[in-house]
Symmetry: C2
């Protein structure tokens, strides 16, 4: 019917994700987004309508990828406790690795920067929280039945605890706690499971 696009929409969202992830929502300008995606202003606004809409697309992409990662980790054929250990280890590796220069986790960043003043973003964060919680709860409940998790414990409560521990490690890493401190946190948390 008409002139086709010469860029891939998903790749553009991915590039925007990188920009938002690195600098945060407010600190990323529309100019930064143009440069990151390689698109002109018209293409950005024609395709994504506003900075906020593009951010929500990027956040959704981020959440989908994280969900897939978590699902893959929980599918491993190891005891539930080892799944939690692997999860905490991966978080520590991510936060202490030099690759990403302290950009942290977009989910945590967004919860802190935007959730209190954007109800729709807050709602998406809640949905993602619930999804991750359900996946973790199922894995922990399976472990409880299998016997490697204390039967006296509640799987849902443990899942909330694991999620909070992940966030706690991420914030501690940003506040300057060293890798040894983060490992101590993970070790202590595993004692509680």
């Amino acid at each position: 019917m008409a002139r086709p696009r010469k860029f891939d929409e998903e790749r553009a969202v991915d590039a925007a994700l990188e920009a938002f992830w690195t600098a945060g929502y407010e600190a990323t300008s529309t100019q930064d987004l143009c440069e990151a995606t390689g698109l002109g202003r018209s293409s950005v606004y024609n395709t994504f309508h506003s900075k906020r809409d593009l951010f929500r697309r990027a956040l959704a992409l981020y959440m989908r990828r994280r969900s897939e990662q978590l699902a893959a980790l929980l599918e491993e054929d190891v005891p539930a406790r080892e799944k939690v250990r692997a999860l905490l280890d991966s978080v520590i590796a991510e936060e202490t690795g030099a690759e990403d220069d302290g950009r942290g986790c977009l989910y945590v960043n967004t919860a802190v920067e935007l959730a209190s003043r954007d109800p729709e973003v807050a709602h998406e964060l809640e949905r993602d929280y619930a999804r991750r919680h359900d996946a973790l709860t199922a894995a922990l409940e399976a472990g409880r039945r299998a016997g490697d998790i204390d039967r006296a414990k509640d799987a849902s409560a443990l899942a909330h605890f694991v999620t909070a521990t992940v966030s706690g490690i991420r914030v501690a890493a940003r506040a300057g706690a060293g890798e040894a401190a983060l490992r101590a946190v993970a070790r202590t948390a595993l004692d509680a499971i």
Copy 2:
């Protein structure tokens, strides 16, 4: 010698703290700061030199108050475990209370929003982290000697863990976890201590 100020500097810092705490650093404009403090632009810049300097003053004030609160809590004549319980309870009360409308904790907010791109702010966060860690470690070590904390555990590791749990609860609260979930996190964390 000359014309005196007709405002109280500390009160102005306090008002700026409220503004930064509520909206974050980037989202608080210098105009917002003028309105919050009741000062004119000239007075703000004459006294505090820049938005960033005023923020650092506000952050220092916030940290000093939190340190005093923590010190008061740790001075109570109760077992160390009960001190930790009281600390976690106070965090949950703060995060679920309607008073402050989800502004969270300025320390966590700053760690996430600014630490990666402002080395001096990051350094002050590290100092505060170390100070809180030392206070917590001392209290836990005393509890360990008194016997209400497992002697096999390391006080410093537990202190890192408690700090991470506090941050984890705060982030979870922002991401939409309910009060019951936060209480489950606190209960599980206490099991590990």
